[in-house]
Amino acid sequence: MSGPVIFNTLQFDQPWTLENYLKVGGYQALRKILAEKTPPEAIIAEVKTSALRGRGGAGFPTGLKWSFMPRNYQGDKYIVCNTDEGEPGTCKDWYILRFNPHALIEGMAIAAYTMSVKTGYNYVHGEIFEAYERMEAACEEARAAGYLGKGILGSDFEFDLHNHLGYGAYVCGEETALLESIEGKKGQPRFKPPFPASFGLYGKPTTINNTETFASIPYIIRESGQKFLELGKPNSGGTKLFSVSGHVNNPGNFELPMGTPFAKLLELAGGVRHGHKLKAVIPGGSSMPVLPGEIMMETDMDYDSIQKAGSYLGSGAVIVMDDTVCMVKALERLSYFYFEESCGQCTPCREGTGWLYRIVHRIEQGEGRPEDLDLLLSLCDNIAGRTICALGDAAAWPVQGMLKHYRHEFEYHIEHKRCLV
């Protein structure tokens, strides 16, 4: 499962050490730009060429995002890495911290150089404490070796990186909730505008990227944006980490070129677990609409293809469900998740997620009513697009997706008070 961009140290016994990272060309990109005093615009241009899009879920072009940072701002600016991976199904960034933390450090250092930032934070999901500790150790290692701190590699570039451990709140993956959390507050998303690029961490200009996004940067600078682009597809450059979980024989994280057919990915993951048929796939983390297996088997894994199929690539987390799965039960669990994780500040999300869950729960318990399904869809319309952050949409999409493709299972449940499967 090695890959060219991010999982490039997995062949070693201890893939996470600086020593091993250096063996695969680690920190060469940083060394190069510091030595050549590469102008920031050139780096941004390179990142734009690569067609790297944010790996956190929304797929925003990274080069463009970096260009939003005010250039001549007097005072502190920050970059922040989002390793709060809590979207059910997603666990790729965990692997980056565990197995190649220096790729992230180098990527962030390059970003910091590009945006004239001296301080960065990496926000780590609470439950992966061991990965947090490894990341802390890697930062120490990098600091000791002169890749972080003052006068990096003998230049006058200064950058330090600190890790901040989350502690059990999915919503902190939303970038402004994450900033609030670093500030020592509840993780409640902020209303935008103002956007983080003008009013971010501690009110200062801030750029936030996903772990995988940053970790892709060293390759782009070392090998060129064009090469990265060519690894994938136009508008979907590079490789992508796919976390395949659920009913497969060999669940795992796979680094594959953008545009790899889903069938290939499923095969790498060992296929659907023995003796069962593929029923459905959530292709991009739990928030994304579910797609029937047949559709997925015809679809490639990149932003545009999945969107055409009726869902989103999201975080690249693939949840595979076989024919034993009751979709009502699956949705009940997901709806509970959004209900449980709503931060509670805005009305449609606070009230709506609980309402959605209660209805799905009732249906699951055999107490559904015929009018419930239309009510669910109407509530989804009333939540999505009317909340402060996208958690409201994230709660609505799974419901909409399930009812689009599996409405009959819900109707069956309401009528017969039990599962179809």
């Binding site: 979207e87 965990w94 502690y167």
Partner: protein, 170 residues
Amino acid sequence: MLSEQVQAKIEHELKKYPADQKQSAVMAALRFVQDEKGWISSDDMADVAIYLGMPKMAVYEVATFYHMYKLQPMGQHTLTVCTNLSCQLMGSNETLDYIKSKLGIGLNEVTADGKFGLREAECMGACIDAPLMTVNNRRLCARLTPEKIDRILTKLSAGGELASGEENVR
């Protein structure tokens, strides 16, 4: 009063943030208290508030917002089982039932000897290794099977500790 060890850890953490942003260390401070005492009392929260120069209510908001904080004693070893979709697909409900029967307690309960407490949690971000749980929020135990659970419980009961990564390799 916060213990000297906790204070030292907070001081270390404070170095990460600008000098006028001490509140940024509140999450870590609460975690240190919890690691030391097993849970966080309101007196502890008040101490953290004073130490970081922030309102007590702001500490309370943080302590009640993030679900990994324990605001009541949850046993010497708190086992937290993920039951979200990927884990559910891989049998986390059965895993949870197995642990319940082994320990003779339900969710959010503590064994009579105070050794184990049981909680349920949302996605832990390690879905490919489902079903899974954490021990004291620090050790991730992956691909749980009854045998693996037995091994872990036996070790912890005997006063052992899990080493980093010990039970999260395949």
